[in-house]
Every structure is written in C-alpha cells, then in structure tokens.
C-alpha cells in the first residue's frame, strides 16, 4: 500500500501514489478502511457487494467510489478491505467489494471530500492524488 497520512487542522489528508489507476482505487479504499479502524468480527464469513458508478472524470469517480463504499460500510456494518475491479475507465467503475462484518469502528468519517482531490499521472508515471476526509 503506498499512502501517507498528513495533518489537517480539523480533518485528515492522505496522499496516495500508485503504479496503476486500479491500484490507486484499491489503496484509497484500504486507506479509508484503515482510518475507520474497524474491530472485525472473528471467524465471520466474508460479505460481498457489487458497485457500479459513472462520473465525469477520474477524480470525481474516485471520490464517488469512496463515498459509496463508506455508505455500504456504515449501512452493511462491514469493513471492505478488498475489491475486484471488473471495469475501470476514467469515468466508469464496476467493482465487487469484499469485506468482513465489524463490531465497532474506532473513528467516524462523514465523507471523502473533493477538496484537494486531483487524480493524475505524475512525471514519473505514477498515479497520485490527495484526499481529505471530513471527520
């Protein structure tokens, strides 16, 4: 996982850098779940759910993906640590999220924000973005 946490006066930022767009989405999901800090239910079967989204650009797609995953995490009481991407383009994603039910979360996340998000490939050929989570 290639992400780093950075400070923000009221919230928290994460900086993600990945070799592929697929990896960037997976790492972002992992970072969000790590931040939520689920106390997983042991010896519990994995739960899966399918998600399909469209957006105008990769940045919107990533933020919408995270917010959809957050909604599922909170309503299904399941921490999604893995995903299988069936399709990922600059403006469309189809994925199957896979997770484990939890007892509780260590931290509340209100939303993933668009604030400093900007998904782009840097000069070194890595995909990167910053994400600010509203806590």
């Amino acid at each position: 996982m290639a992400y780093e946490w950075h400070e923000h006066t009221s919230d928290i930022r994460v900086r993600i850098s990945a070799s592929t767009l697929e990896e960037l989405f997976s790492d972002a999901l992992h970072a969000m779940t790590e931040l939520l800090g689920p106390e997983l239910i042991e010896r519990c079967d994995k739960k899966t759910c399918r998600m399909s989204l469209q957006a105008d650009d990769p940045t919107s797609l990533l933020i919408d993906f995270l917010n959809e995953a957050l909604l599922l995490t909170l309503t299904e009481k399941t921490a999604y640590l893995d995903n299988t991407l069936e399709k990922l383009t600059g403006n469309e994603i189809s994925a199957v999220l896979s997770g484990i039910p939890y007892y509780s979360l260590r931290r509340d996340i209100k939303a993933a924000t668009y604030h400093e998000a900007d998904v782009k490939m840097n000069t070194g050929g890595k995909w990167e973005t910053t994400i600010v989570f509203d806590l």
């Binding site: 006066t9 009221s10 917010n67 909604l71 509780s104 979360l105 260590r106 509340d108 924000t113 604030h115």
Partner: protein
C-alpha cells in the same frame, strides 16, 4: 497562504482582504480576530478558503470569518456568507456535512453544591442513557413513514410524540422545524444511514457536558433566562448524524455535475453550488432543511434521555428546562438591509451561530474549559449577517493533538479540577484536548468587542460525556 500584508485593519478586531487581492473576488473577505489570533489564523489555509468563498456568484457585501475560524474544505469552518436569491447560489459546502450540528443548553434548579457528590453517577447515568460512539444507533429504529414525519416536522414531531414540551420548541431556533423541508428530497441512502440514529450523540467533538455558572456578566439578561450564579446546566452538542452527512454527500456529487450546465467554475470543488433558484438548488434546500429537522429532533430526543437520567438521580420533581438551542451548520432565508433596501438572502453558516438581537448565543469551549452564554446585539444584523462564532476553534490537527497529549495526565488534570469524564474512546479524549483549541475567552472577547453579542454568563464543566 495569504500573507499578513494582504490584510487591512478596519478596527481593532476586524480585518479585510480587499476585493482587489485576487482577480476573481466579487466582494472583500473579512475576518474578526485580535492581532494575536490573526497570526495563528494565517498559519493554515482558512483565509485562502475565505477568499474562495468571495468568488461565489451573487455573494452580498463580503465573505466573513469568525474568530474561531480554521481550515476546513470549501468554506473555512467559522465562515459566513449571504447570497442574493435571484443571482446567487446555494452551496452544501457552505453548510458542511454535519447539517445543523448545533448546541443546546438546559438549566436545572440545582446548584453546584447540590450535584458535586453525584457527579460520578450523573456521568455514568447520562453515558448509559445517551447512546454515543461511532455510527452508534439508538432505541429508535424508524420505518419510512415515521422517519419522513421527523424529517418534515423536526423537534415538533418529537414533542408531539411525548419527547418534550411545547416550551422546548419556543426556545429552539426556528422552533426546531424548517418548513422548507421535504422528506421526499432525502435519498434512500441518507435515510438508510440515519434511520436508527435518532437520540444518539455520535463521536468526534460531540458531547454532553454538565456545567455550572461560574460568572454572571449581565444580571438582567441572566434573570430573563432564569439563570443565576452556581446554577447547574447541561450542554448538548450533536447534529444530524449519518443522515445529514449523506444528504451533503449526495448534494455535492449532484452539484458538481450540474455546475457545468450553469457555467459555474470554482477554485475548489467542495464549494460545489448551483443557482438558488434552480431545480437542483430548490431540491437541496428541501433536503438540507429535512436534515436540519432531523438534527433538531435528535437533540430533542437526547434532551429527553438526559431528563430521564436526571430524574433517576434526583427524583421526578427535578426538571431540566431548555434555555436555548442553536444551529451552527445551516443555510437560512433571512432579511437584511442592504444598500438601503430590505432584501431576503440565503445566509450560509458553516461553524457559525445565529446571533439575532436578544437571542441567546451558546459558545462551547474546548473539553474541560467551559462555555459562554451570550446575547445577540442589534449591530450583528449590520456587520455579521446576524452571526457569531460557534466555539473555540481548532488550532491543532487531531494527529498532533494525539501526539502531544498524554491521556493519563490529561485525565488527572481534569480530575484535579473536579471534572468527571465518561468517554467511549481514549483516542477521542486526546484529540479533543484543550491544547488543540484556541482559548475560548479570547474568541468570545472578539465577539463582544466587535458588537456582535454581549456576554451573559460563563459556565465551567463538572462532567463530560463523550462518544
């Protein structure tokens, strides 16, 4: 970052970034602060975010920052902006994700001496009656129709169901109900996220605090509100929970798509907005109002839970009466005199409290440091769109606060002051350490000296209950 020399001092506690500072500013940006506080404010991006607000279409007079301002996303936290209804916008980023996060103050008939020996029981009983913690559900698990009634009628619905008294509504901003609400504009997802969260505190900086009045600054006003020195009060800070968060998430996503159609281009996508008079704008106003109603209903049920705890400890004859309830993340239609004309505007408050003349203004400080009760002044209508600060305001990130705080030492310090703490998470305590916030005395002084609101009473904590 905005450099210090970009700011012009207009009065001892008011500073302005002129409209000429950046080519896209439509009005100046103003910040209420002391010189010392300004140095601290300039260390994060809050004023840069305020300048971004000044570029939004239809903004009237100026973008404002209160003395507790700090960096948020889109609007800074502690930001106020008013927009023309015909040419202006409505922005969920100008309200925040926790729609109608707010504060209410209850007064008891007991004094500090009466309750001191019961503090441990008070902390434990309230902690057990008010569900708190991340994503925590309560005893209400509402079906669709019942939830829609709460979304449309707010605290009024909960009083009708027996969770309060008519007098509670009279002491709540907007009577605890925005009539612009329409439950059908709230998504299924938002309802799924909040259906079991009525009567819950949540986590983060939300709290219940048992306090006593340590000082009275205005005897007449205090008497009018039924308050006297040493009297014990209870403060509640919570909002619209997951339901409100999802309403904001839905709206920001939709508006980011819709903005292109309206030719709106922004320096920060979290400022996402649409014309107030557009279909998306009207729909968001209805959904936001419904989430605000949910928050008022939530604080009403939390009040009921606290009253039950109070009765359990002190008997049925001991009551808790509502002093006032204020929203601090909301947009409301209000009328102001602008250029000699009375104009209805949509006033956005993100981390700011309404401060109408004679209205109680509740300003909680950081955990363990106490709070203020103020009363709005006439001048607030002319200089701050009837708005005040909403708290002390963070100065330190949560990560830094955790690093800098030794929880055992902090708890010992609070205990030495006679403060009992009941919290679901040790992490929550360290992140909310007093050192992570500005000094609330300094913040309130700026509000008083600026003529926005006057001090009525100071409250000091006795018991803190957190998620």
């Amino acid at each position: 970052m905005i450099p210090r020399n970009a700011l012009k001092q207009l009065s001892p506690f008011l500073w302005e970034i002129p409209q000429t500072w950046r080519h896209d500013m439509l009005v100046p940006a103003r910040v209420y602060a002391s010189e010392k506080m300004l140095d601290q404010i300039l260390q994060d991006r809050s004023l840069e975010q305020l300048v971004n607000v000044s570029t939004l279409p239809g903004i009237v007079r100026y973008a404002l920052a209160m003395p507790d301002v700090h960096e948020g996303y889109g609007f800074p936290v502690g930001g106020v902006a008013a927009f023309d209804l015909d040419t202006g916008i409505i922005s969920p980023g100008g309200i925040g994700y926790d729609i109608n996060c707010g504060v209410r103050l209850l007064r008891s008939s007991l004094t500090k001496d009466d309750v001191v020996k019961h503090l441990s029981a008070i902390g434990k009983t309230i902690f057990s009656k008010v569900p708190s913690g991340v994503g925590k559900g309560g005893s209400f698990d509402m079906k669709a129709k019942a939830l829609d009634e709460v979304l449309n009628d707010g605290a009024k619905r909960m009083v009708a169901l027996g969770y309060g008294e008519q007098e509670d509504l009279e002491k709540t901003e907007s009577g605890g109900q925005l009539e612009s609400a329409d439950a059908s504009c709230v998504s299924v997802q938002a309802k799924a996220r909040g259906h079991d969260q009525l009567g819950t505190l949540g986590a983060g900086n939300h709290f219940v605090e048992v306090e006593y009045i340590s000082a009275i600054y205005d005897d007449r006003e205090a008497e009018r509100l039924g308050l006297q020195k040493h009297q014990v009060c209870v403060m509640v800070h919570t909002g619209s929970r997951g339901l409100g968060h999802q309403v904001a998430t839905d709206a920001i996503r939709n508006m980011n798509k819709a903005m292109v159609r309206y030719g709106i281009s922004l320096p920060d996508r979290e400022l996402a907005c649409v014309p107030f008079n557009s279909s998306e704008g009207r729909e968001y106003l209805k959904a936001m109002s419904a989430a605000a109603n949910f928050a008022w209903a939530n604080r009403q049920v939390v009040t009921w839970e606290i009253r039950e705890a109070w009765k359990e400890i002190f008997g049925n004859s001991e009551t808790l009466s509502l002093v006032y309830d204020v929203a601090h993340n909301i947009a409301k239609l209000e009328t102001y005199e602008v250029d000699g004309m009375h104009r209805k505007l949509i006033v956005h408050r993100k981390g700011a409290t309404r401060a109408f003349p004679g209205q109680p203004v509740l300003i909680p400080g950081s955990m363990g440091t106490g709070s203020y009760l103020l009363s709005g002044l006439q001048d607030a209508m002319n200089i701050s769109f009837g708005s005040s600060c909403h708290g002390a305001g963070r100065t330190m990130s949560r990560t830094q606060a955790r690093k800098n705080t030794n929880i055992a030492v902090l708890l010992e310090e609070l205990s030495a002051k006679g403060i009992v703490v009941n919290a679901g998470s040790r992490e929550g305590i360290s992140e909310e350490a007093p050192s992570a916030y500005k000094n609330v005395d300094d913040v309130v002084q700026v509000i008083g000296e600026s003529g926005i609101a006057k001090k009525i009473a100071r409250l000091k904590p006795l018991a803190v209950i957190k998620g």
